[in-house]
């Protein structure tokens, strides 16, 4: 594990103690290459290696990368005073004494220097040169995640935001990884540019939920892209904010040593359906719940994606049920002798009637009251017709009393 430490002063820097983890990252050179490659995505601007943390910090400020293969002392001696924060505070006074470099400061007698500038100055100097031990506090990830990013230029087109959102998402995923957690709900907010139209408002936000707790960067990025594709910005955007709303512990699975078998799902079903629900609309990705009812149209409820599917054990229907249901039922024309016609073909009744009545107990809108005789039917002329499930309205005076309600497909 890399020990993470942070310098919280005027210039932001992250210190990593890597002595014990070099093998994990495949050696110093491989790690160096990796930081150079991946660092810019996280906003890394400079990089320096040194045996001491303050020394590395001073080198990074001076733009020197390598402090490991060379002797550190002459390197540091040549650096200007502001390279070390503790020294930079006394820079004007030291400059009047004729000190320009750290080496010159070190040459001053220690006793008078400590009396004049305080012990902290010499302490920092000794730590940087490796003559005094350093102690650092562990970085603890904050309880709440909230990151903001000011865009380098104003963006008017929502999909163009995705590049910058991915930077924030990477931070979020790193934060989740540090906390061994996953996310279920996050909010992306954006601030409009100051030069906006009055009716555009100050900004907007987008709330995003996932079915499973996840910290999969790829999935979150895909979901956000789908959302952005449907978004129209009211005004150019100048700033983005990402907030984690619902963070839950994530049960992690160890990766397999062997490559994934092709049988394994490349994308879990929930992630696939989530993406479909975002693009098509949640009401277009449906799952059903069975209800115990004897009226065919009340036997199942279709729920839009995202609604909780309660587990219900429902006894199977007593009578054979069709596999397709026409909703609403299709009114059938009838011949003069009241025989129903479907697609111009008279229907032959094969079995029935099965009488289905009821529904007086509910309101009319929710629970239709039905009085029907169901028949199994098919076209009277030889074959070429499916098995249909038709019904006749009982006690109805309407012209059309025959309806097609289902197909035994």
């Amino acid at each position: 594990m890399a020990l993470l430490e942070e310098e919280e002063e005027e210039s932001q820097a992250v210190l990593l103690e890597l002595g014990a983890s070099l093998r994990l990252f495949g050696g110093l050179r491989a790690l160096h290459r990796r930081v150079l490659q991946e660092g810019p995505a996280y906003g890394v601007q400079g990089l320096a290696w040194a045996p001491t943390s303050l020394g590395a910090l001073a080198l990074a400020r001076a733009g020197i990368v390598d402090g490991l293969t060379q002797d550190l002392t002459p390197l540091l001696d040549s650096l200007p005073l502001h390279s070390l924060s503790a020294v930079a505070a006394h820079e004007p006074m030291l400059a009047r004494l004729g000190c320009q470099r750290l080496g010159q400061l070190r040459a001053l007698p220690r006793g008078p220097t400590a009396r004049r500038f305080g012990a902290a100055l010499l302490q920092a100097l000794d730590q940087a040169y490796g003559q005094a031990p350093e102690a650092h506090a562990w970085v603890v990830a904050p309880e709440q995640f909230q990151a903001r990013l000011e865009l380098p230029y104003r963006i008017e087109n929502a999909p163009a935001l995705s590049h910058y959102i991915e930077q924030l998402l990477r931070q979020l995923c790193a934060w989740l990884a540090a906390r061994h957690a996953g996310i279920k709900r996050l909010t992306l907010a954006w601030q409009h540019d100051a030069m906006r139209a009055r009716e555009a408002g100050s900004g907007g936000q987008l709330s995003l939920g996932t079915a499973d707790t996840t910290r999969d960067f790829g999935h979150l990025a895909r979901l956000l892209r789908e959302h952005l594709a449907q978004l129209t910005l009211q005004a150019p955007v100048g700033e983005l904010q990402l907030r984690a709303d619902e963070v839950l512990a994530l049960q992690e699975h160890s990766a397999s040593l062997l490559p994934d078998s092709p049988e394994q799902a490349r994308e879990p079903l929930n992630q696939l359906l989530e993406r479909m629900a975002v693009r098509l609309g949640p009401e277009r990705v449906r799952r059903a719940r069975l209800r115990e009812d004897h009226r065919p149209e009340c036997m199942q409820d279709w729920l839009a994606w995202g609604q909780v599917l309660p587990a219900a054990s429902v006894r199977p229907a007593l009578q054979p049920q069709p596999s397709w249901l026409l909703e609403p039922p299709l009114a059938l024309k009838t011949r003069r002798d009241h025989q129903p016609l479907h697609q111009g073909q008279p229907l032959q009744l094969l079995a029935g009637p099965q009488r289905i009545e009821g529904g007086w107990w509910g309101g009319r809108a929710v629970d239709p009251q039905v009085q029907r005789d169901y028949f199994l039917a098919r076209g009277a002329s030889s074959g070429q017709s499916g098995l249909l499930w038709i019904y006749q309205e009982r006690l109805s005076t309407a012209e059309q009393r025959w309806f097609l309600h289902g197909v035994f497909a």
Binding site: P262, L272, M276, R279, R289, L290, S323, A380, V407
Partner: protein, 286 residues
């Protein structure tokens, strides 16, 4: 025809046993696992002995929503009964929540009617397995189908694509090469003259009596000219019918109520005319 000299030569016999060598007279073997269709007559004619995986199966129908489940029900019922490939679970610890026996899901994209789950139960499809994707237009239907195939998360994908063009089918076929699940595309009969990238194409019609009439338009192997007749009466309906009705149509045909003359001469598609064309074409090719 293989010449007798070729068959007796031991070196040639070894050559013929090689799976990579395929002779035009023999039915193509399938490198990917196949799923038994539940109809012996159909399995005998399908390369690999069942519905193929890793490729598209195209089913053309004059009218969508008439007999899909009767044809696919037996195969889907068995396929969806299997345990879904689970995420690797840590073996030492017990999972926090008891994982219910996960069965592979069934994805319906753009079905012609509302699926009726109490009816599908008879085929062994549970409500938890079925997902109904109802896209607003043809483009969304294609997108949803492609994503479903690519994700490889479902036990089977059934898509009704009445407006798909050959180039789009080719794209779906390319995606399906990596899909372990069978993919069935339902398309209208009108596209039978178009070329299609799907390696298996069938024409499905409800036949006389309780049978389904199936014509193999394209398969890996020699052309198959005759239509197949599959007896596919849902079991629960058989209990409902009188024994007289289960007998062939010719017996009960006279008992159909007399149809007035002006109605009986209404133009309707003659089944033989529809089916004769590809058969004749296949015959002319031989």
């Amino acid at each position: 025809m293989p010449s007798p000299a070729l068959a007796t030569d031991p070196s040639h016999a070894a050559l013929l046993a090689d799976a990579r060598l395929w002779r035009a007279t023999s039915l193509g073997a399938s490198a990917s696992p196949c799923i038994a269709s539940g109809f012996g007559a159909l399995d005998a004619q399908l390369p690999g002995g069942g519905w193929p995986t890793r490729m598209l199966s195209e089913i053309l129908q004059a009218q969508a929503g008439l007999c899909e489940w009767r044809l696919l029900g037996p195969a889907l019922g068995r396929l969806l009964l299997q345990q879904a490939p689970q995420q690797p679970q840590p073996t030492r610890r017990k999972p926090a929540t008891p994982v219910p026996a996960a069965r592979p899901p069934l994805l319906l994209v753009n079905p012609p009617q509302q699926p009726h789950l109490p009816g599908l139960r008879a085929h062994g499809i549970t409500p938890q397995q079925l997902v109904w994707v109802a896209p607003a237009n043809a483009l969304q239907a294609l997108w949803a189908t492609e994503q479903a195939i690519k994700a490889n998360a479902a036990g089977a994908v059934l898509a009704w694509l009445p407006e798909a063009r050959p180039a789009q089918i080719r794209r779906l076929q390319a995606a399906a090469l990596g899909s372990a699940a069978p993919v069935f595309l339902f398309r209208p009969l009108a596209v039978q003259t178009q070329s299609s990238a799907a390696p298996l194409r069938l024409i499905l019609n409800p036949g006389a009596d309780w049978s389904l009439e199936l014509l193999i338009l394209k398969r890996r192997g020699p052309a198959h000219a005759q239509a197949l007749r599959l007896e596919a009466l849902p079991a629960e309906l058989a209990a409902l019918l009188a024994p007289r009705q289960l007998r062939p149509a010719t017996v009960i045909a006279p008992k159909v109520p007399a149809v007035p003359k002006e109605l009986s001469h209404e133009p309707k598609p003659a089944p033989s005319a529809v089916l004769a064309r590809p058969a004749a074409r296949a015959a002319s090719l031989q």
